[in-house]
Symmetry: C3
Subunit: 468 residues, 3 copies
Amino acid sequence: MSRLDPDRLFPLESRIRDLARELYATVHDLPIVSPHGHTDPRWFAENTPFPDPAQLFVTPDHYVFRMLFSQGVPLESLGVPRADGGPTETDGRKIWRQFASNFHFLRATPSQMWIEHALQDVFGLETPLTAETADSTYDHVAECLTKPEFLPRSLFERFSIEVIATTESALDPLDWHRKIQTSGWNGRVITAYRPDAVVDPEFEGFAANVEQLGELTGEDTTTWAGYLAAHRKRREFFKSYGATSSDHGHPTARTEDMPQSEATALFTKALSGKCSAEEADAFRGQMLTEMARMSLDDGLVLQIHAGSFRNHSTPMLNRFGRDKGFDIPTRTDFVRALRPLLNAFGTDPRLSIIAFMLDESTLSRELAPLAGVYPALKLGPPWWFFDSPEGMMRFRQLTTETAGFYNTVGFNDDTRAFCSIPARHDVARRVDCAYLAALVGTGRLAEADAFEVAADLTYRLVKQAYRL
Amino acid sequence: MSRLDPDRLFPLESRIRDLARELYATVHDLPIVSPHGHTDPRWFAENTPFPDPAQLFVTPDHYVFRMLFSQGVPLESLGVPRADGGPTETDGRKIWRQFASNFHFLRATPSQMWIEHALQDVFGLETPLTAETADSTYDHVAECLTKPEFLPRSLFERFSIEVIATTESALDPLDWHRKIQTSGWNGRVITAYRPDAVVDPEFEGFAANVEQLGELTGEDTTTWAGYLAAHRKRREFFKSYGATSSDHGHPTARTEDMPQSEATALFTKALSGKCSAEEADAFRGQMLTEMARMSLDDGLVLQIHAGSFRNHSTPMLNRFGRDKGFDIPTRTDFVRALRPLLNAFGTDPRLSIIAFMLDESTLSRELAPLAGVYPALKLGPPWWFFDSPEGMMRFRQLTTETAGFYNTVGFNDDTRAFCSIPARHDVARRVDCAYLAALVGTGRLAEADAFEVAADLTYRLVKQAYRL
Amino acid sequence: MSRLDPDRLFPLESRIRDLARELYATVHDLPIVSPHGHTDPRWFAENTPFPDPAQLFVTPDHYVFRMLFSQGVPLESLGVPRADGGPTETDGRKIWRQFASNFHFLRATPSQMWIEHALQDVFGLETPLTAETADSTYDHVAECLTKPEFLPRSLFERFSIEVIATTESALDPLDWHRKIQTSGWNGRVITAYRPDAVVDPEFEGFAANVEQLGELTGEDTTTWAGYLAAHRKRREFFKSYGATSSDHGHPTARTEDMPQSEATALFTKALSGKCSAEEADAFRGQMLTEMARMSLDDGLVLQIHAGSFRNHSTPMLNRFGRDKGFDIPTRTDFVRALRPLLNAFGTDPRLSIIAFMLDESTLSRELAPLAGVYPALKLGPPWWFFDSPEGMMRFRQLTTETAGFYNTVGFNDDTRAFCSIPARHDVARRVDCAYLAALVGTGRLAEADAFEVAADLTYRLVKQAYRL
């Protein structure tokens, strides 16, 4: 029996469920446009088989291992590498057994749905994951991975990916992207400009990173003017590998629009490693405005991912390093934080600024009212923990009445879990169709308009907002 | 075909939908009681035809023009006047064409529903608004406006308005209200006392305004005692034109109850223009408590509208002036902010204080618990962006369990868009009936009680809370 | 006719309602496990009849009297005792008349459902409570209370209470618990360790309380070491009366993990009564971490109830004392506040820390992400105003996708209203079954899993989390 209900995520009432199903039928085969994510370009450059099932589904997926860890499963037993070089499980089968026998802890989470969808649709597996089925499911997936139709490029095509963006550091040589570009393969894999390492004075090795930025661009990045020029050159370089956006992961949504003389002084202080935490935050904020200024010239879309308290657990950071599930959302103030940037450029319709949030209380109070009036500002889809059926539904309910549909930008899968990409987009399409059907059923949207909006949310808006 | 679903906003499940329909049938013809809004008393005083359709539906409606602006439509092309005297579109037909051809940006917003309701029910138009129908709809509405049955007083009667309150500055001579009062027309149009210009030290021309307040009342408003006496006289004057409430739009919900000696000193400082931002906020807070003290004598209901960051965009303020859609909600703390006022007068059941919010996170956490215990405090209906189907439903879901129904005060349309008034009240009645039907359907309210509560929410509570 | 809909709180759509009913059928007879509450152990020790109906349903129930007070009913007329010794109503029948004739103010609140459930299921009364039925319902309940089957122990058994925890001050001699233990009755009534009076420097009589703690334990509580040793002894004493948890009611969720030398100095300052508000908060925060440290040895579960602004109304505090409905929730930051404690012990799966919240905006943003990764941290059920059908449903919707089911701990009734205990657990079971049925109906949970989870949420998780 299928693990997946064909009507999953649709409204319960039968008339509206029927309409949701009809809406979904018109969008479920549309190509995937993935403008923001973390897949590895090396996969598509080399096109060699993915390693074992645990490396594909467990070890790199912080949604999965954080939940198992919360229930007492050691990260080492899931193969998560130790920052201190300590021992960790390397036998994929053993990791998979841990995963399968604890899979029930993921009940009713998006991860459960994504994984079951991927196992069923990508690997043809309809067995539930349990301690009993651990070995047989492992064997099945492992065998699939040896076949040509499970190579990265084959899956890319099978998933109907029209375009996918990876994310690279500003200092990345983009060698894998170059290899893809020159390989003759016609899959569209583009990069995105992520300059955290060279705009955040608190980033490890900031000064050295800025020096390296100078070497890469031939600019004197010890000066503010040279530093900005280096960014401009680097952005051009990223554009030559398809980039249409930059991306910025900041602890707050703070922006600044200080006089250039102040910015110069702050930059000098940052390079010298003497910034206070407050000054570092101000510098990051100033750089968002500088990036917007550059966008007016080069057209890159500005993505702001704000509000995560990174590495909440010091012992876990020391033991396992960054990005191990200990980044926790915090309260964010977008109204005051975005004001300098919006005062500078917010009314310019040539600019595209996409704000992502981890604080749902800001949706109806701050973000929808801001996006509903500033032409430059759009709302990114629900991010991280909110990339979920309930999160998506709340997002629409809390933003549409004030910001409408057309100040949103479609879906981001934002993932490195390649096999989950079709599942993630499918969830978004289903939730949007469910929401639209309920609007029609309650007389808030004409039925014909709902079909148009469904296509807009799935396909048209993302291409427009990200200039793809 | 009608653009309006007769069952709009009712629950989807058929049994409960039937009950919602029955509940609605008992309230949809009840008279409109509109205790707070911004219609122009001149309309009812002069009773001349409304100007062209664009002046009625587009140019004054910030919900509409802010959304179109967010999608790149210049405000000038919608006829919004420039503060700097620059050129702006004056041809109503051209404005209407912009509006109609961009109307799809309002999909699923309350504005769409209000406008379609007004066009259909007030003007008999069932054509969708599009670029193609722009001219024909414009002509149709324009022609209607020339007819006697579309004069302001005719519409007032047709809308079954039992009473409507306008809002006037404390310095307003209330000439239009006098004209209405002496006209022989028996429509009940009353004023409300809005003293922001004379209680907010940061209001443009504060000192001159206070001086004028002195001239109007014959009091020496350079002294704290005279200033308070002037307010008392002015409140009496407003009462003679029907006022039953005062209204206060403050950036925060802060109240103060300082010793009179401190208040005197702060007032003197405010008059001299030397208040810091913090002191100005404290003075506004003190004046809420002073107004409550006056209410105990003269019975005016105290309305507090808090939490808007006004004029978020400096360039737009410079170009177009205030109230152009750039007022953005902010996080508000009611627990600490209202405490001085509530400590002073909160347990006095003779007093009626109505708090409005723009921060939904405070509903279940702060406002419902406060209103559920302080006899003087009631919850105003969802305001501004939250005057919407989803906003109203969340308001009930987040407040009823803790504050009940009887610490709420019915609906406010809060609008200057006269033709949308029936639509707005209709939305509130439908959402309340939908909510009540769902309570009955889930065994949380007896069916007979639901009919009583429906009438209370529509008609009885607003009259009681506003003493109408 | 029954006042209680047998399908109350179930989803409206019939197929899913059927499933909710089936799920509920499997859990509604499970024993009640009540790990946190405020019943009086004296009831079970003495087993004498409860006093009159008003003393049972009205006078001690702040949910009820706060709502009636908000509508202008004086607390004195409801028999609430005056702190200043002033007169208050003592005639149970007169109090009951006030209650019954104002019962409609509780429409659609949880209190209405709990009271109607208790009157019907415990007392066999199906008459609505109104002014007209006041005397007959009073007589009926009063007569019941004279019968042996309405004695505390009889009701305890009739309610299928497997175990109930009361809450006692660290200084309580636990005499009633001793009497229960030695009475031969086999009802399981246990205590919980509530040390607010001896860990909060702002608690009335703090220094004297700490001195008394020393006397009770034979430790020198003028020293930090002796003070901690006294806590350890006292915890052992509470354990001998069944305690499996400590409970901490703090204004904020702040924790500290300061060096012991600093803690020593702060303790000395606290004893001398010279702590600032900030230092008192830090000391309370440090004590949470000390309690966690003790938990690692003695196994007591650490419950943190944070975020209430106690005694909001000074006049009411002066007139009626504490706990009279004027404790108002406030905004809480768990991410920064819990960090010192979580950094110290959060990854230790031997520890069980249960966090309760009064700020729903933290559920999806902070608490679910924290509980979804730290093995020591679990989420307490919705507390206080959120112990309600809507509150419980929002709790599941806002936490499950990120924290799953298994980082929650079942239900707490947290009440001193003994007769409402079955009603409160019943509401929780119904809401959970409604939620689970909707998950199954939307393809997010397998039907067989839903039955297992229903039993987990009702029975298994609470026993596991509280080590019962």
